[in-house]
Amino acid sequence: MENFFDFQLTVELLGYVQPMLIAGAVLGLVAGLLGPLVVTRKMAFAVHGTSELAFTGGAAALLIGIGVGYGALAGSVIAALLLGLLSRRDSDRDSVIGAILAFGLGLGVLFLALYKGRAANKFGLLTGQVVSVGSTDLWLLIGSSVAVLAVLAVIYRPLHFASVDAAVAVARGVPVRTLSVVFAVLVGVATALSVQLVGALLVLSLMITPAAAASRVTASPLRATLLAVVFAEVSVLGGMLLSLAPGMPVSAFVTAVSFFIYLVCRLMSGKRERVQ
């Protein structure tokens, strides 16, 4: 316990974890930019469902001996497409996600049970496995992130319109249904990348918590997006640095930091509402 906040040790470890920090910073950016749209579209549960299916994909990849990252990517993109296509109405979206999520998670458990490799790999998929990001993984992550951000930049305005004001967006000729499937895929990719870092169980702490915190303190979509990026970066990088010395799982610290930010924002917004 005496080296829980050992500054010297933290600095020494920094060299080893530099790729990790880069990965974290990239993910913080992607999650922070997608988050406000995810929150606006009330997709928190869909993100959770997608991340669990990324776990299933990763477990399947482990079993057949290909890269876990590719498996997770495939799993969550398939999940995103399924959710986008099956839940046409808002009203039945939650139940569709619930059904697919439970089945997918069951499959993942089965795959892990059949896998005979190292036990550490099993846990990593659920809770994050930060020290294992190699340079191939890093390039996959950066490449995928750039692709996600490029698509987002093209569809951002009509997607935002469709997310907050679907009736008028449809009337103005915005391809609302297509955009929602494309966005689900973007979220799927971002989720799969985050699973590598914080694990399937904790993806919400990157994609939802920072955006939810930002939406408590501003009504401006632009400011909310900027804040969400800042909050996500602080959570990821702060969580990683804090986790170095004690050698504890990164995800525990990332979630703690992002939840702390969320609490502060809630308190601030509570005060603001009372003043008004």
Partner: protein, 277 residues
């Protein structure tokens, strides 16, 4: 010109009309909402659409937006979707939505455009400010939209519909939840727009009196039957008695119209119908 429908012959007349329906029929299963509907709305014309709940007023607007295919007949709307201003029937907005009034109005301007909209943001801001100013919404333009009153949200909707420079304006009960003063503001704005820019207006409403001086023609829908004509022709005891198939009396008090009729008319039209017995 955008064409939807099965047989899309464009006649001279419908080319000039901003909205043209020919032999239009809409049915859901066995239920026919309206049939044989011929309607030309000229540029700059103000048409009020009246009728009890469920008579197919919103469905008519959905047809004009291209969201609902006709069961028979054709529909033409000038300019296509990009030149339609649409004020949807009012719905509650989530109080926690991260959106301000000015963002909603901005969508009306270029929300359909690709990209993030970083270029031209100064021009956009000026156009949005002018639209906000015109409906008197400047004071709450930066407040979270979910916290505004229904009437304030409605005025933003009007600004959103007008800011896109529409050729056709489709309004679904835009006066709902507005007080008398703001009913005036909103209907005068729409009137000024169609006079200045020759915008054709279809205005669905429960209550004709606030817009009576502005209306050129009325489309009155009841139970699959309909009548089109000037207010003085349609809003008569005889015509409405035929439409409702029950004794309805139209009383003119100064420059207002009051429809006095049977119970079911009253239920459907709470604002302008007084119960006889």
């Amino acid at each position: 010109m955008t064409v939807w429908g099965k047989t899309a012959q464009v006649t001279d007349r419908s080319t000039r009309a901003a909205v043209a329906l020919r032999g239009a029929r809409l049915s859901y299963g066995d239920r026919v909402l309206w049939d044989g509907l011929d309607l030309d709305v000229a540029p700059g014309e103000f048409v009020a659409v009246l009728g009890p709940n469920g008579s197919g007023k919103t469905s008519l607007i959905r047809v004009l937006l291209g969201l609902q295919p006709l069961s028979a007949g054709t529909v033409h709307v000038a300019g296509g979707n990009r030149r339609i201003g649409y004020i949807p029937q009012q719905r509650a907005i989530d109080v926690s939505l991260t959106l301000r009034g000015r963002d909603l109005v901005g969508f009306g301007l270029d929300g359909h455009g690709w990209g993030v909209g970083w270029r031209h943001r100064r021009e956009r801001r000026a156009a949005v400010d002018a639209a906000l100013e015109s409906v008197g919404a400047m004071r709450y333009a930066d407040a979270p939209i979910g916290l505004l009153s229904g009437g304030e949200q409605q005025r933003l909707r009007v600004a959103q519909a007008l800011v896109g420079d529409p050729e056709v304006l489709l309004c679904d009960e835009p006066l709902l939840s507005l007080d008398l003063a703001h009913q005036r503001v909103v209907s005068d704005l729409i009137d000024a727009r169609r006079r200045a820019a020759d915008t054709a207006v279809l205005f669905v409403t429960h209550e004709i009196n606030p817009i009576l001086p502005l209306v050129d023609r009325v489309l009155y829908l009841v139970d699959g039957r309909f009548r089109i004509g000037a207010p003085a022709e349609v809003m008569t005891s005889r015509t409405l008695t035929e439409l409702y198939r029950t004794n309805v009396e139209v009383v003119r008090v100064r420059d207002q119209i009051h429809v006095v009729g049977a119970q079911h008319v009253c239920e459907d039209e709470p604002h302008h119908v007084a119960d006889e017995g």
